[in-house]
Amino acid sequence: MSIYGERSRTIVEIEALSKSYFRDSLEIPVLRNLNFSLPEGEFVALMGPSGSGKTTLLNLIAGIDRPTKGKVKVAGTDLAQLSEGELAKWRARHIGFIFQFYNLIPVLTAYENVELPLLLTSLSKSERKEHVETALGIVGLSDRMHHYPRQLSGGQEQRVAIARAIATDPTLILADEPTGDLDKKSAEEILELLSRLNSEFKKTIVVVTHDPRAAEKAHTKKHLDKGELS
């Protein structure tokens, strides 16, 4: 089910995935030979200590980083086969990304921030308006749509960021520490919202988190330590 109607979507398949970073000639392995699959409609919490490679794995699934070895297949597409341009187009269609620090554009209103990814679609202005208002309605910010980020609280900013992530009705929602910069109450609201997106709209969600409450909301917990998944 989609926030805009019925739909049947996809899985994440990761095979023998390795990722290393290089500092001069020194290879620093981050992920080692990971195998991982994610059924549609799943809500996964990816946990682990700092430096364990959680964000790197999320970036690889989002197609914003390239693996050193192995295969990442999302929504039936082998990301290694896509050029940078194709990957950008693919991300716009399939990925909704939520950042720890919200990353809203400060000179745009909540409405305009949510509309931003929709500018890449062929939707008309009135269709974009409908999508933006729906997304902001879902996150409970219909009355704040013409506020700038500086006029919103941290929790509200993160809700705008979630609205931006769901506005294009993506296949997969990826959240990198979405409650990491929030107070307890705001964090609970955000987790509740993610949980609702999963249960009510059947969105597939992967959350990178240190927060045990976030893990509790997820159906599945995955632990990543020293580049290995358990």
């Binding site: 970036n59 989002a62 914003i64 980083d65 341009g85 950008a88 187009k89 693919w90 991300r91 716009a92 269609r93 990925i95 990304f97 950042f99 620090f101 990353n103 554009i105 400060p106 000179v107 745009l108 305009e112 509309e115 931003l116 990814p117 500018l119 890449l120 931006r164």
Partner: protein
């Protein structure tokens, strides 16, 4: 909401910085326009030249005169319709620092050759009937408060002594480019005085002006005049009036070249100012560009975003600068009207200034564009908080 709107909003993020940059650009564009106008003013005489007038001067140097007898010979050259002559007088009025052009001219023929110099019949009659009469331009008359009938005393430098003149009348320019700041006295008054005081200097003129039948004949007629006086004591060099004027301007060539260089340096400074502003903006927004890439925006979207912002700033500065050039040039022209009688900003100078502002906008965005498009999303996101 489109990319352009976001670019304009981005430009307004640091209002003081953007405002100062726009003002800086405006001042630079205005300075460029003003300098180009000064250069144009230098060339105004040449621009006002008629293509059917030739000037014959001494082939050695303009400071050496030509015999009066050449007039009748030049008139015989096929294609020459009228001939007149003039002589640089080089006197001043009360203060040597108050320079103005003054010539001794043939009172019978001179104004016939210059239809752009409008002299009414009464003035012309006065000029032709009184030996020490002088005709002055409107700007010069305004400068010294001269009116027809006034007696004025010029102090000679080339021809020392006091020269008492009577203002016969005031001439006006037919065109905007006509100089209205000169004084013309009668050559015969000069010559008769020289015959009495320094006879050896009498009987000479500074240059001849020939009205020819067709500009297309200029080369042939010039060659014919010069060949007529070949191997004489005073060989001639005959040029079109424009070439003659340009030869004067060439004497100030170094100053004009320096002004040209300064005008281009200003454009260079303008480029540095905007590049600095855009560079700072791009550095601050690397994480935002990474977020936009994550959302699916492609490098060309970022190119558009940054270039639009840069162009918005540069064109705002450019347009403001162009608008400021008019009152500035007007004030400058008014203050310098005795030195630059024709001081008018040309549309093409402002067009060039506008094109430079456009180019600067494009060039200044190059470095930030390269930075924004080359940085990987992961590296860009790492720069967050």
């Amino acid at each position: 909401m489109k990319i352009l709107k976001l670019a304009i909003k981005n430009a307004g993020r640091h209002k003081l910085r953007t405002g100062l940059t726009i003002v800086g650009l405006a001042v630079a564009v205005m300075a460029f326009g003003l300098i180009r106008t000064v250069i144009d003013a230098w060339y105004a005489g040449a621009e006002a030249s008629a293509p059917d007038r030739l000037v014959s001067r001494n082939a050695v140097n303009i400071i050496f005169p030509l015999p009066l007898s050449y007039k009748e010979q030049i008139l015989k050259v096929p294609g020459v319709e009228k001939v007149s002559y003039a002589h640089w007088f080089g006197a001043y009025y009360t203060d040597p620092k108050q320079f103005f052009a003054n010539f001794a001219v043939d009172h019978h023929t001179y104004f016939d050759l210059f239809p752009e110099v409008i002299v009414d019949s009464q003035t012309l009659a006065n000029f032709r009937s009184q030996r020490n009469a002088a005709v002055v331009g409107q700007i010069l008359a305004d400068r010294f408060g001269w009116k027809p009938g006034d007696q004025v005393r010029l102090i000679g430098t080339i021809y020392p002594g006091d020269w008492d003149l009577v203002i016969a009348g005031i001439y006006h320019g037919r065109d905007k480019t006509t100089d209205e700041s000169a004084l013309m006295l009668r050559w015969d008054y000069l010559d008769e005085t020289l015959r009495a005081t320094v006879p050896v200097r009498a009987g000479y003129v500074g240059w001849y002006i020939s009205k020819i039948s067709s500009p297309a004949e200029a080369v042939r007629i010039s060659a014919a005049i010069d060949s007529m006086f070949k191997n004489s004591l005073a060989e001639t060099l005959t040029q079109t009036e424009k070439q003659f004027q340009l030869s004067f301007i060439a004497m100030s060539g170094t100053i004009i070249t320096a002004l040209r260089i300064i005008s281009y340096l200003i454009i260079g400074i303008l480029l540095l100012v905007l590049t600095n502003t855009m560079g700072m903006s791009a550095r601050e927004r690397i994480s935002e560009y990474a977020v936009m890439k994550t959302l699916g925006f492609k490098p060309f979207h970022l190119v558009q975003l940054i270039a639009d912002e840069s162009l918005f700033i540069s064109l705002s500065g450019g347009i403001l600068g162009i608008l400021l050039t008019f009152p500035m040039a007007s004030g400058f022209g008014e203050a310098m009207k005795y030195y630059f009688p024709v001081f008018e900003t040309k549309p093409q100078d402002l067009l060039v200034a506008g094109i430079f502002a456009l180019c600067v906008g494009i060039l200044a965005s190059m470095f930030p564009i390269l930075k924004a498009t080359r940085v990987s999303i992961v590296d860009g996101l790492r720069s967050i908080g």
